[in-house]
Structures are given as C-alpha cells and as structure tokens.
C-alpha cells in the first residue's frame, strides 16, 4: 500500500474541512492534506445554489458554489495537498487512515494530527418507519437537491414535503421555480425546524401550504408514489384518529433531520455524545483521542455555513498547534452540562488555562421554543456565573454565549456547571 505522511490530515473538504485545513496551515503546519470523496471540493456546497452564504465570513451574500469557490481558492493559495475522489475506509486510534481512490488505489496516511470533517447526512425514511408501500418517488431533500441542481433531473412533478428542515424549505422553492407543484409541507412539531428566513423566503413567498402538528401516516402507490395519507398528531406525535386525509402526489421529500456522520470517528475510538450524535469535544475541538479533532457538522449540526467555518477554524488551529507546539498540558477543566431547557452544549468541557488565554464561545440549542425574552445562564449551584438576555429562544436557532477569560478563576471551584435557558 502506498504510504503517505503529513502533519495535519483533514477528512472532508466541505466548509468545515476547508476552513480547518486552511487554518492548520496558517498555524505553521507544513504538510496539510485534504481528502474529499467527490470529484470536486466543497462538500455539499456545490449543490446549494441558493444564496445566504458568507455574509459573516466574507461580508458578501454568496451562493453555495461561490462560497466554496472562495475557500477553494484559499486552499490552493495556501498550497494544501488535495486528494479528491478519495474515500476513507478506515481510521485507527493511532490516526492511521486508509483511503481508496481510482487514481491512487489504496493509500495509507499517518498524520501527526487528524481533523474529522465528514459533515452530516439526512435521516432516511426507514428511521421514521412510515407505514405504507415502497414505491419510487421517496427522496431525502438533499438527494433531490443534487438531482435537480447538479444532475439536471426532476425527481417528480407534484411534491409533498415532510419536515420543515432548511433543505426541505429551500427545495420547496427550488422545485416550484422548476415548474413542479409543492402541494404541502408537513411538520410534526408545533413549530418549524428550519430557519425563519427560509420560512418567509421559501414557503410563505411561494404560497406553499405549511401544516404544523401533522405527519405522513401512510405512503400509497405501487410503482410510483400516488398519494400520502396525512394526519394530525397528539402530543406524543401519534396520529390522531379522524384527522386523516389523502393528498395526491407523485413524490414525497423528507427533510426530517440531519445526523452527524461519525462512522469513521467511532472506528478511531472517538467517544460520541448520544444527544448531538457527534464527538465529545473540549474548547479546542479535541476529541477524547489525543491528536484527533472534530470540525463542523460532524460535531453537531450548525444552522449556518458561516458558523461551520468559524468553528472549524478553531479545530484547524488546534490541530496546527498540536503539531507545531505539541499536545497542550492536561490541566484543570470544567464540564458544561445541558441544564434547564437546553438540549446540548458544545464544547462539552473547557480547560481553564486555555480559557484564561482566550474567551470561549459556547453553542447551544434549546429543547422548547420560548417566544419571549429569555436569560441564558451559566450556573453553579445557586450562583449565576454568566447571565445574558436574548429576545427569544428557538430550537432551530443555535444560541452562542461567550465565556469571558475572566471567568476562568471562578470556574476553577467547580467540576461542572449547568447551562440554563429560562424565561
């Protein structure tokens, strides 16, 4: 097997991988290598032809391909070593990576630091166990997006979209613009799961009927989807008897959630948080395996690509420093626990000596929406160490909270603190 060596190896060249690799190089890592399974860089970005990318990162409102292109130009400028059309088959605890490609066959790469940036995947129909037949015409929203935007084929003519994730909403608009009919978007929750701006710009502006607290109770059709039976749901998300109705359609799109893609992480012995589906990380985005870092949606699913790039940079910087300065000293740390109405917090732990040097931004998601002013607090016992006011809290919009460096000395008294979101 061909053996390759490098300082930092990044798996995945989406917005996370590009930013992490670039940043590792800026930190002085000499040989930074980027692996991508597709024939072009950018991960999912090339198929995201809508705008809304890069306002923070580049100060421009860009499309996905444009956003990718800016980063790819930076990657080439920084002389990153790029292996595209290369799929990783195996990762060991010792960071040894085996990858396969048409051009190079199997290659084994042992980097001094590894960044996991494989992104996320869509939750499939099977995971929902929707009853009914199994005809053609059931796609996840992202697969439909690739078919339409990259391959130039329409997966159907008359669509029902289950789930109100961002890709689902964006595809509702896209399909409408391509002359298809989107007859309904259904969301099982009492609120949408994607961003508000997409609700306005993709659903309301195109008069697409959105039904909350509603799900697909059955798929019908032999060869192609012929209809779906939709039904209201109770608080336990079970179909409510008597609320059924049949909607004729030839395609059902699913936009029912994204799952961080961590099969390779598990192979490497990286511990996974069952709540986020991603690795447990500290403030440097280091996993439990020394020298293995995680960047972007592999950690937890972000709302915006700008957030992905920004946080991935931290992972890349840490990986770069890991090879140029060695492993940071293991010292006191505090665990951050999801408290009242908080689903999860990233990072999971913060090292105090590093907090002393630099503020740490926490990203958290709430469980329940609160449509009135809330306080986001870092609490130890009865004491609120940090308390900040926000106008509202929604599960679909990640909350960022800064831990100032000055807090390090106060946190030293605790093993763990709670993060609460309260009205």
């Amino acid at each position: 097997m061909k053996q390759l060596a490098c300082d930092v190896l990044v798996i995945g060249s989406g917005p996370a991988g590009l930013a992490a690799a670039w940043e590792a190089k800026q930190q002085g890592a000499e040989r930074v290598m980027l692996l991508e399974r597709n024939d072009e860089l950018g991960g999912i970005l090339p198929q995201c032809i809508h705008n809304g990318f890069g306002v923070r990162e580049f100060g421009d409102d860009l499309t996905g391909p444009e956003y990718a292109y800016r980063w790819i130009a930076k990657a080439h400028e920084a002389r990153l070593e790029i292996l595209s059309e290369t799929m990783v088959l195996d990762v060991g605890r010792d960071r040894r990576v085996v990858a396969s490609s048409r051009d190079h066959g199997l290659v084994e790469i042992t980097p001094r630091a590894l960044v996991l940036a494989m992104g996320c995947r869509e939750r499939p129909r099977g995971a929902l166990a929707i009853p009914g037949s199994r005809p053609a015409g059931i796609y996840s929203a992202g697969t439909a997006q690739r078919l339409v935007n990259m391959e130039g084929y329409m997966p159907g003519r008359r669509f029902v979209i289950l789930g109100s994730g961002d890709i689902g909403m964006i595809m509702a608009r896209r399909l409408t613009l391509e002359g298809a009919e989107v007859v309904a978007m259904l969301e099982i929750l009492p609120y949408i799961s994607g961003l508000r701006r997409n609700l306005v710009q993709c659903i309301r502006d195109f008069d697409i009927p959105l039904e909350l607290c509603t799900t697909v109770a059955e798929v019908r059709g032999r060869d192609r989807v012929e209809s779906v039976v939709v039904s209201g749901v109770d608080e336990q998300w079970r179909p409510l008897p008597g609320t059924d109705r049949e909607i004729a359609c030839d395609t059902l799109l699913l936009s029912v959630g994204l799952i961080p893609e961590n099969e390779l992480s598990r192979m490497a012995g990286v511990a996974i948080d069952p709540v986020t589906g991603g690795p447990y990380v500290d403030e440097s985005f280091c996993t439990n395996v020394p020298g293995i870092f995680a960047a972007g949606n592999v950690v937890h699913v972000y709302d915006l690509v700008d957030d992905v790039s920004e946080n991935a940079r931290i992972a890349g910087r840490s990986a770069g420093r890991y090879v140029t300065q060695g492993a940071p000293p293991e010292d006191g740390s505090v665990r951050l626990l999801a408290g009242t109405n908080v689903r999860h917090v990233v990072p999971h732990t913060v090292h105090l000596s590093r907090l002393e040097q630099e503020a740490v931004v926490l990203n958290l998601r709430v469980r329940q929406p609160i449509e009135e002013p809330v306080r986001v607090e870092v609490r130890a016992g009865d004491e609120a160490l940090v308390s900040r006011r926000y106008r509202y809290a929604r599960p679909s919009e990640m909350i960022a909270l800064t831990l100032p460096s000055a807090l390090a000395s106060r946190l030293a008294a605790y093993d763990a603190v709670n993060i609460d979101v309260i009205s």
Partner: protein
Amino acid sequence: MYDVIIVGAGVVGAHIARTLARYQLDILLLDKASDVGEGTTKANTAIVHAGYDAKPGSNKARFNLAGNAMFDTVCRELDVEFDRCGSYVVGVSEEARATLEDLYRRGLENGTPGLELISGEEMRRREPGLTEDTVGALYAATGGIVDPFALCYAAAENAVANGVELRLETEVQGFIWEGDAIVGVETNRGPFRSRWVVIAAGLWVDDLMHEAGLEGFTITPRKGEYFVLDREAKTAVQNVLFPCPTPVSKGILVTPTIHGNVMLGPTAEDIEDKENLSTTAAGLNEVMTGALRLMPQLDARWIIRSFTGLRAAGSTGDFLIEIPDEVQGLLVLAGIESPGLTASPAIAEHVAAMLGEAGLPLVERPDFNPIRHGTPRFSLLSREEQEALIAQDPRYGRIVCRCETVTEAEIVAACHAPIPARTYDAMKRRTRIGTGRCQGAFDTPLVLEIMAREYGVSPLELTQKGGASHMVVRRTKEVAE
C-alpha cells in the same frame, strides 16, 4: 419448441432451471417481474432452517432436511454468502418448556441433526441481551443465514450460463392446449410452446392452476412485516433467535443477516391482495413489541428500514409438488412458503427426478458447469486483495455507496452480468448499494449516472423496480434529452 418452460423465476424456479440445465434440454424460464426473485424470494427472513418444526412425514419436513444438507455445496458452487451459524428457539415462559421439548422430539423424528436443549442460563450466556425470563432454548446446529437474493439470482445466472433462456417481464396469461395436454403458454409477449410446463409461481400459482382446470387448491397471501436495523445493532445480537412458534407462524424473530444487519419480524396476517406489500402501523408495532419480548434492550433508533413480504400459504398446509392426473405436460409447485428457501435446491432435484420418471429424457450435458463466480465484493476483501483488484480495474477504487462500501466496478459488473441488474432495486440486491444507514441518499444520483452510462440510456428510462417506477421524470428547464 422448448422441452421445459418454468413459470416463475423465484428461488424455486431458479433452482429448477439450474438443475435441469445439467441435461440436454431446451429450457425457458419466465417471470412477469423486471428481475428474478421479485416475489416472496426478496422479502423473507433469509434463514436456512434446520427442519425440526415441520410435521413429520410432510413434504415440508422432507425437503427442508434435504435442502438444508445441500446448502454448503450449493452456496460454494454459486458463490453465495451463507453462514451455518446455528439457530435457537428461545422459551421465555414456563409453558414454553413443553413447547421446546415438543419441538426437540419432532426434530428427532424428522431426523434433524445437531439438536440440543439448553438451559436458560446457558442461553443467556450465549446471548447476553436476552430477557431475564429466558427459561431454556432449543439449539439447532444446522440452522444458518443466507443471502436470499443471491441464492436466487446466482442459481438463475448459472442456469443462463448453461444455456437456459430467461425472459423477464413476460407474464403467463393462459396455456396452449392440445386436447388434455398443455403444450405451452400464452404470454403478453406471445406464445411459447413446450413439452412440459412447470409452475413455480409462488403467490399466483392458484390462479394458474385454475387456468389449467385444477380446482381446490388456494393460496392465501400471508403478510409478514419486518424491520431492518443498522449494523450497530449487531453489537447487541449474536445469534438467530426464534421465539416459541404459534400455529400460524414461527413468531417474531431477532436475527443477524448475512450482510451484518439485524432483522426483526415477521408478523403473520392473512390478507387478500397478492400485491399488497405495504407495512402498517399496527404490524410494525407488533414487530417491535415481539422483538422486545426476547431482547428488551433493542433500540428503535437502530431501525433503518421496514418492509413487507407475502408468504404463499397453501390451503393444504404443506408443499404441493405434483404432476396432476387431470392434465398432461404440467408440473405444479404450490404452497411453497417457509421453509421454501431452504427447501428450494432439494425441491429442484425432486422436480428433475419427477420429470425424468414421467418420460422427459434426462441426458447429461458434458459441458455443464455448476460453478458460478460472483463479482468480488470489495468490502469483504483484505486490503491486499482490494489493492490487487484496483490495480486490475481502477473502478474498484471508487466507492459509490459509502455505508456499504460498494465500488463502481461492482455496479458496472452487475450491469453486464448474465442477468443484468436493470433496475435500482435489482442493483441493490446484487451489490448492496443503498441498503445501509443512509438508504441511498448518497449513492442514488451516482448509481443512476453509472447505470445510464452502462446501458446507454437516459436516466429518465431507469426505474426503481420496473413498470412505471421511474426515478426521475423530466429534465430541469424542460431541456430536451
């Protein structure tokens, strides 16, 4: 003019075709579906049964035992994945002890080798995730798991390689008669004449029997719903686990599959519609409840797919394999439900013998080759073997389905196999694309592109499973092809 027409290219028809291909005969294998094995063969529990539970003296018992004994050879010859891993019937109540003993005795009477009654503690030692209520189990050393799709297409491919003609999307609509003798079939693609017609039409056999003037035998589609679990579940399930059986079915199993997943099911519900392959909320709920009774810690988050299969349950409760007195030139196989997959190679031998006795000259072909080589499955090979393959054909280096690690070369090979995988589902059964945890979300556009290229057609012509099951319906912007 053929010597034999076989109607139905499921696992039974395919094995009959392969067995008859040993002889100097002109054979036509017909199926109305777009691929072989599209009926009961593609949706069942994929278990090679040991044969302890069939009624002693029945055809089911006889052919189960005989078929089971043939599996090592057949799967080796046909390059089909098979694991004789043993199986367990697990008792979880005091009454179950008696049932287990009954099954054990019946197994001895059937001549099932390798049966052993074991204690509840021993069973839980072998399968730690089993319920604490486990009181004992019947171990059957000859039980196993197999790739049911491959068992069918490999036999059919081997038949084709040995001269059998296969026609898909060819539906028998009636028979050609000469007096009381059947001398062929009428189909949607015209008439085909033959000396013998063998009906192995699964769910539809009673309709064809009726067409042939045979009365009394009926098929009831018995629905079985299943869940397929992610490979991750394999950490929690080591063995093939049956609950104690009921009169209508073997109960909700928890079983590893040959491909490394875990399968739960099936339910057993008699229905009327032979094409109703839908799952139901109640059925899926029953599957999970039943499985949890054996393995309480199974996690519903492991579910990646659900499906329904229909058993061709015959009115006599046994396999019917006969040359009816009333009609000449006809051999009928009916009611081949479980353990039909296990029995299929033995049934095929028996059918050949019956035809021989009835006057069909069985002259061996000197050039018959029982060996079929499947396409190497990249994901199962050592790194050295993988490297060697990529060196031979770089398309082995391109992974198209990441969850199941399927390469472009495997997809291309399935396009050019003796029985080409014409549909996406056929491709799934050949290569395992789209069967993993993302369920095709990643590979679908890539596979469409490769299949369109290899077959020289537009993606607009490709279907999921034949008929009108097109996967994409038009170009964007209405661009002309």
